[in-house]
Structures are given as structure tokens and as C-alpha cells.
């Protein structure tokens, strides 16, 4: 059993609880042991890095100490948390002075030996593809998925771990592994504007329209995401987007872990599908011949 420290972040305990549920369920099925970091604190996200550089390093690093003491790497499913943890770790490894400063702030001795992974990297590790493939029970071939990476899972390349940040492939590879087909579309790395959703709703709305419209036009049945901010931003505004574009937009925005879970036949209740705002049930019933009575709750 492979063990990892688990950093859920604030979103996975509230608006993205289905990501938390499905992530844990899939890992359990794959024999990956996730241990939640005790008493973790918020990574600071964008408000920290746009306000104070030191704060944007100290908050994430204070969460890595426990993992370092246990000798574990950290899995951070939220794209924003992942990015902040990874950036802070890289900066500390590169610059000894910064490390001293941060250690003074958090009053502990952090060496920087922890590696930070997002679920896309975890499930793309060499052995994982075969293991997922062996577990697949449901025929997902009827579904066409638009894999959406957004900003922080594709950029910058050295942080996100993608070889080509204009054309990332990790999620597409996983979705292909479970037997579903993926679509080529131009918005997979476009920004959805989630960081502006509260402060500049009009700007964010325009970006959401572009992404949803592009997925729709390229024949996607659903959008797969790996970021709670993208998910809620793309999922919540579909009725307004339909009104604005003058066409009916009903595109379930599911976490890629939920798709893996469905394919490998995990108990549907454990995947939290009922928490999605745009209901995905009829899609799975039609295209995968699944009975979704349990998932509806």
C-alpha cells in the first residue's frame, strides 16, 4: 500500500465535497492510503500571493512540516492549493535565504524534502494506468469527455508537471484508460476566470461562456475537471449562460475522479454525484447503461 499525506484544502471540505469523496473512494480502490494532514491550515491561495510574497510561502510550508517528519509526499487535489504548495517548495529548495526566512516565520526547521503531487500526476504514475485498466467494469465508450485543465493544472509547465503546457495530456490519458473518448477542443487550457468570479462577475461570466460554448460545439457530453474552482464556476452559471447564448447548455461538469470511480464500479453514493449542480444522471443512464437510482440519493 502506497501512503501519502493528504492536503484537502478549504474547498474540498465545503463546495467541492464530491471531489474529496470521489478522490478518497478511488484511492481506496487502488490501494493508495491517504492520511489527512492533522490541523492543516489554508494555503492562502491568490489573496496571499497578491498581497505578500512571504505569506504566500509561509502558509503552504507550515502544512508540509508534518509530511516531512513522516517521510511522506503530499497529494493536493485542489489545483490552487497544489500550485501554491508546489511553488513554495520549489522556491525554498532553490533559495537558502528564503528558506531561512520562512523557517523563522513558522518557527520550525523545514528542509524541503517533500514532493507535492496533484491527482493527475498520481494516477499517471507508471504502474497506475495498468491498475486502473484492470479494475474497469463499466463500458464508458459511449461518453465523449472534454478534459478541462484550466490554468493551474497546465501552467507553468515545471510546476504543473506537464511537458507541453499549451497541450497538456495527463487527464486525457486517464480518461482514455477508463475507456471513454476525449474531444479535441480549443479551450482546454483557457482561463475560466474563477479567481474573478466574486470580484468581477461580468468578466468571469464571459470566460465561462467561451469555455462552455466551445465544449458544446465540439460535441462533448460532459466536462471533466480536476479543480474545485473551475468546477463550481463552470457548473453554477449554466442557466444564465443558456439565456445569454440563446441555446440550451446542459453540460455536467464532473470531477475526473468521479468518472474513474464510475468506470471501476465504486458504490455510486460514495462518489457524491448528487452534489453536482448540473445533474449528470440522465447522461450516464443513456450512454453507459447505468442505473443511477442510488447516486441520486
Amino acid at each position: 500500500m502506497t501512503k501519502y499525506a493528504y492536503y484537502p484544502g478549504c474547498s474540498l471540505h465545503s463546495v467541492a465535497k464530491e471531489y474529496d469523496l470521489s478522490m478518497k473512494a478511488v484511492c481506496r480502490a487502488l490501494g493508495i492510503d491517504l492520511i489527512e494532514i492533522p490541523d492543516w491550515i489554508c494555503c492562502g491561495s491568490s489573496p496571499a500571493h497578491t498581497t505578500s510574497h512571504l505569506l504566500s510561502l509561509a502558509l503552504p510550508i507550515s502544512n508540509c512540516i508534518w509530511a516531512e517528519n513522516q517521510g511522506l509526499d503530499i497529494i493536493a487535489p485542489c489545483a490552487s492549493c497544489f500550485s501554491r504548495l508546489k511553488i513554495a517548495n520549489l522556491e525554498i529548495k532553490k533559495d537558502g535565504k528564503i528558506r531561512q526566512k520562512v523557517n523563522r516565520i513558522i518557527e520550525e526547521e523545514y528542509k524541503g524534502t517533500v514532493d507535492i503531487l496533484n491527482p493527475l500526476q498520481l494516477f499517471n504514475r507508471m504502474d497506475m494506468h495498468g491498475e486502473i485498466k484492470n479494475l474497469v467494469k463499466i463500458d464508458m465508450s459511449g461518453i465523449k469527455v472534454a478534459c478541462y485543465y484550466g490554468c493551474l493544472l497546465s501552467r507553468p509547465g515545471d510546476i504543473a508537471g506537464e511537458d507541453d503546457c499549451e497541450h497538456p495530456k495527463k487527464m486525457d490519458q486517464i480518461i482514455t484508460t477508463i475507456g471513454a473518448s476525449t474531444c479535441d477542443w480549443q479551450c482546454k487550457t483557457e482561463c475560466c476566470g474563477a479567481s474573478l468570479a466574486i470580484t468581477q462577475p461580468k468578466v468571469a461570466f464571459r470566460l465561462v461562456c467561451e469555455v462552455l460554448n466551445s465544449a458544446m460545439e465540439n460535441g462533448a457530453d460532459c466536462i471533466a475537471v480536476a479543480c474545485p474552482l473551475c468546477q463550481s464556476n463552470l457548473d453554477m452559471r449554466q442557466s444564465e449562460v443558456s439565456d445569454h447564448l440563446g441555446k440550451d447548455i446542459h453540460l455536467p461538469v464532473v470531477y475526473f475522479t468521479q468518472l474513474i470511480g464510475l468506470a471501476i464500479g465504486i458504490n455510486q453514493e460514495a462518489l457524491g454525484l448528487k452534489h453536482l449542480i448540473t445533474a449528470p444522471f440522465s447522461l450516464f443512464e443513456e450512454k453507459c447503461n447505468l442505473s443511477m437510482a442510488i447516486a441520486k440519493g
Binding site: 482561463c191 474573478l196 468581477q200
Partner: protein, 216 residues
Amino acid sequence: MKWALNQNTTDDGFVARVEKTSGQNISSCYQCGKCSAGCPVCRDMDLAPNQIMRFLQLGIRDTVLASRTIWLCASCQTCSIRCPQIIDLARVMDSLRIISQRKEMESAPNDWQSLLAGIWNRFKESMIYILQMDARSNLRCFNHIFLDSIHYYGRVFEPALIFNYNINSGYLFSNFLKAPVMLLKSKIKFLPVEVRRRDKVQKIFERVKMMEREEE
């Protein structure tokens, strides 16, 4: 558009300060415009990202710090990965926001009285913002409230975050209509989780403030 360059409009030290804060070489920008071409929010900005770079090179501080652009940047990093001169433009935007917010950082709360005092101060500020309805004030206000939440609880407590933002920004009913569906899908937490090492979090904020003051 005409810009006068003289001692009143330029600040020679400003470029150096931005370069130090961001770790980026501002002068290496040769105005290819790739950053602006790829920027998803460029059309809503008053100065395009490449214009910000040019103004920085010329040391026109006030125009840069007063622009809507630095507050509209979504930190999506498209500019940073496409720059042929490997300038991390998103980091430059961060530095500009940091520099313009430095003074406001001072008033972060550490007990409930100062938390209330902070809310009252920002309420007064927001009365001015309401008249402006402006990108600058919105994001600054959001940043403060978000960081206050971490400072106070150790984590973000979304309902309070949205409530405080709506009150402080003047957009009283912003996101109001989303509440029923969020409740229906049980995506809202009713009580904040208080982290046990809360005092440690507060110390982190205090020490960061202290060290930043030392550096200046």
C-alpha cells in the same frame, strides 16, 4: 495618447523596486505584445499587459499603480509561459499589487475587537468604493476579507467570506441567488472549523508583517 516624461511623472527607483519584489528583469521586455495577445481579460483592462511593462520601464509609477489592469489580472499565467524573454509577467502583476497594498496589510486583526474595528474601517472605505464600483477596490477588499478569515479561523469559511464581501464591497446581493441551489446540493457549511493551532497561524501573520517592515 500623450505622456509627458519629467521628474514629476517618473520615479527612477520604482523599476528597481518592482524588479526586486518580482525577481524579474523588466528592462528585457522588447514589446512583442505576446502577453497581451494571449491575455483572457485584456479587453477589460485599461492598459494592456505589454503597456504596463513599457510604463514600468519608463518609471511612470502612478499610472501603473492606478490602473485597473493590475487588479483584473486573473493570475492565469498565460503571459508568463509565452514570453520570449522569459519574464514571469504574472509575478510582476503580483508585485505591483503587493506594492500598492503594503500599507493596508498593517491592520490585520488578532482578536475580535480589532476584527470588528477592521470591518468597520473597511465599511467606511467601501462607502467610497460604492461610489466608484471599481476593479481596484473589489479585489483589494476581497483579499483582505479572505486573509482575515485565514488569520481568524485558520481556514476559509465561505459563507462569512461572501457575506463580509457583499457588505464591504457594496454589492449587497451579489451571489445571493446562488445560495438556494448551494444549500440544496449541500455545498454550504454552516459552522467554521476552528483549527487547533490557530495561535500559530496568527503568529505567522505577525512575523510576516514584522519581517516585511524590517526589509523596507
